[in-house]
Symmetry: C2
Subunit: 308 residues, 2 copies
Amino acid sequence: MTIGDLGEFGLIAGITQRLTSGPSVALGPGDDAAVVNAPDGRVVATTDLLVEGRHFRLDWSGPYDIGRKAAAQNLADVVAMGARPTALLVGFGAPAHTAVEWAQTLADGLRDECDLVGASVAGGDVVRAGSVVLAITALGDLGGRRPLTRSGARPGDVVAVRGRLGYAAAGLAQLLAGGACDPELVDAHRRPRPPYEAGTEAAEHGATALLDVSDGLVQDLGHIAAASGVRIELDGAALPVPARLGPDGRHHVLTGGEDHAFAGTFPQATRLPDGWRAIGRVAEGTGVLVDGAEYGRGGWDHFPDKNG
Amino acid sequence: MTIGDLGEFGLIAGITQRLTSGPSVALGPGDDAAVVNAPDGRVVATTDLLVEGRHFRLDWSGPYDIGRKAAAQNLADVVAMGARPTALLVGFGAPAHTAVEWAQTLADGLRDECDLVGASVAGGDVVRAGSVVLAITALGDLGGRRPLTRSGARPGDVVAVRGRLGYAAAGLAQLLAGGACDPELVDAHRRPRPPYEAGTEAAEHGATALLDVSDGLVQDLGHIAAASGVRIELDGAALPVPARLGPDGRHHVLTGGEDHAFAGTFPQATRLPDGWRAIGRVAEGTGVLVDGAEYGRGGWDHFPDKNG
């Protein structure tokens, strides 16, 4: 059965049936809007738009992984503010010939990723579109803490990272090359596993800045450097390159996004929480240096060529 | 200049420069997520996905109107909960050949519609896509009041409406017909003017249910009937059909969405606020009757045919 056969309201009913509503959702799907608890008195909110062929390929990723990944990248953004994710809102566009089961499995992926952090899908919208489009908004609660922005890094701080780097990029490179694939790398591309506990850990250990690495370590740390008015100096030896990442492993580690590791800065005297690795320091100046030199151009710009 | 020339980060910088940040936005665009004040301790949140060719046509609507309308329909959803809109998050997808000015003018439209209610754009995402896609999330604050849901209507309540009905649908019909157009009707289609004060008015006058008419009066009141377990009985004579709506005027009034009027139910003893018209009553039973009879099938389903 297709979603065109079922119709908008039937599809919504079938999807919401499969969702669970967590304790943060005061009013879930089915009204003009959802009501989500925001006990802090502020709400952290972020949105991402994902389009077929650009952020995912239907021949490379199944609906479950697409749902997991779409949720993960937004939940990671909430965590990167030092907040606890509470809810997702999901806009879903697809052709009428899309199988109902495909859409439901995608919703299962969203739900299961939310479950990891105690959040849930609180609402959404379903529309017909020429290709699959996903618009995810994630909300979160700061629990009385100040948000961990990109602008708080100070000269003398330690730069540290929590989570894998380069795995998703190496997996994507293998898919693009079309040859033999390392299942763990391809899986890393299909379904990131952000270390969600990193936000709370960083906040509790006095981090001065935090973000999730979505566009590549050097590029993203460049945002901290720019917002904080500092230079970030990375120590290449502190960034091990696993052999399985292949001949371009170092490049993947420095420029690959989508693993959704967390990178931040901590006062020099801080004992880093378990699982965090020091990878450099904050200095006076601008930009990001790796072993004292600029590292080419890398990372991800969503309008990289002019033929679109 | 195209957005492909400018690149993602240049486009974002150019757009955020034109935005204003209202008092509800504690942290605006530029970090992993925004931080929006939610003094009530709960946040109202709704999302809509709008795709080119389905929710707007680039030959019928300019970017400014598209922005106004996209904001309006989401702000209206927040108002329909009895809440005060605080912020929008905007996902914007477009081909790389899109003119920068087009995207900036769209952002101006979003900003100006937000200004009407004291909200502002707090964050967003920009991606390349094959056609224009807009994903809007609106947030709002309940100010200590209970949310006005669809499930509170009780037999004996009065059904009332605030705002225009059928204008946008009549304007769209004229555009589709391709003949002479009434500028006011076409304008109503291009840029709805929801009476945003309706949410507070309804809440302060004890409304038992409220929604904004986005899919058509009969269809949307059907949601209140279903959620509340009641029948809605409309009085056709209380729904005047302006002559300018044309020969299908009555149909447009009963089934046309997109004017974003507000319809709700009030206890029988309530003196309706100014600007509200009583149009029927709530009874025991199910469904929606107009002058005692069911009114065909109407309104809007996003998968109306199976060729997509």
